[in-house]
Subunit: 174 residues, 2 copies
């Protein structure tokens, strides 16, 4: 036990998580959220919610905006363009149908994959001001983005259950 | 851009997250979940839910069982005792009141803090079979534990909203 304690409290030089694994973890979560949106009735996506909370489409747009603008900002040393600015050329930034929302989801998936390798491993512990407003290290802000998506998706699981539709399994990631 | 790409795709020798930061991140989430339980009406905690889902007490017990048994298992090279076995001496493992549930929560908080330093930094990328059943690396399994808590807590946010009670702010971590 003495030995274990000494090992674990030595200066952390071991990589417990690398950038590629964190990207795969996030995209696995994003894929689950996408499948939740796919399961959602198209006529409820923009209107239905429970307890006076926001509909899934609004939650999804928040999640997309954070992911798109956030990863771009980290990869460009703090160029905090909005998703609207970044993806205006796609014509998809104001989706009004489930199909458009899913297309936008896929565009952001590609955008994350494109910009991710431009965040250097040594930058994850760097202090930044996300969106010019929120202080944190890059890793803490990225974990926040992911956690926020899980949090809102958990809410949408309840919405879907009240519509008598079974959500995708939480543990099923692609 | 060429340089950034080369840097980021070089073998990951930079620590993007260390064990102490991951523990603080998890305990910050656990503290938020605890404050959600505190806000919950005592007479609803064990009975109330939405959409035929499980009450918050049942979700909380799942989350506690995973945390308690999981961290103990990682810290002991795979001794997968259950929370009931580990904490039987406390007499708290079958809470029937909000107060007992919160006491159990605090016992598990201390248990995590006690065992965490016994998980060596070099073990986070090690393959294990959590609870003798679920394959993954220690880091992937720990992220799953945290994500699962966020997921269920997000559901309980909806329950609380339908009771017309404002949940704690998601971004507020102690």
């Amino acid at each position: 036990m003495e030995n274990n304690t000494l090992t674990a409290t030595a200066p952390a030089t071991h990589v417990i998580l690398n950038p590629q694994q964190l990207l795969a973890h996030w995209q696995g979560h994003r894929d689950l959220t996408r499948r939740l949106i796919e399961k959602y009735p198209a006529d409820k996506l923009f209107t239905y919610s429970v307890g006076g909370m926001r509909p899934l489409s609004v939650l999804a747009m928040e999640v997309l905006g954070i992911a798109s603008a956030g990863v771009h900002g980290f990869a460009t040393d703090g160029d905090w363009k909005t998703m609207d600015e970044l993806l205006q050329h796609t014509g998809l930034t104001k989706p009004t149908t489930k199909e458009e929302l899913l297309k936008l989801w896929d565009v952001v998936t590609e955008q994350i994959n494109e910009y991710w390798p431009k965040i250097a491993a040594q930058d994850f512990q760097r202090q930044m001001k996300a969106f010019g407003q929120y202080d944190g290290t890059v890793i803490s802000l990225l974990l926040y983005f992911i956690d926020n998506e899980i949090h809102h998706r958990g809410q949408a699981y309840v919405y879907l259950r009240t519509l008598d539709i079974e959500p995708p399994f939480f543990w099923d990631r692609h």
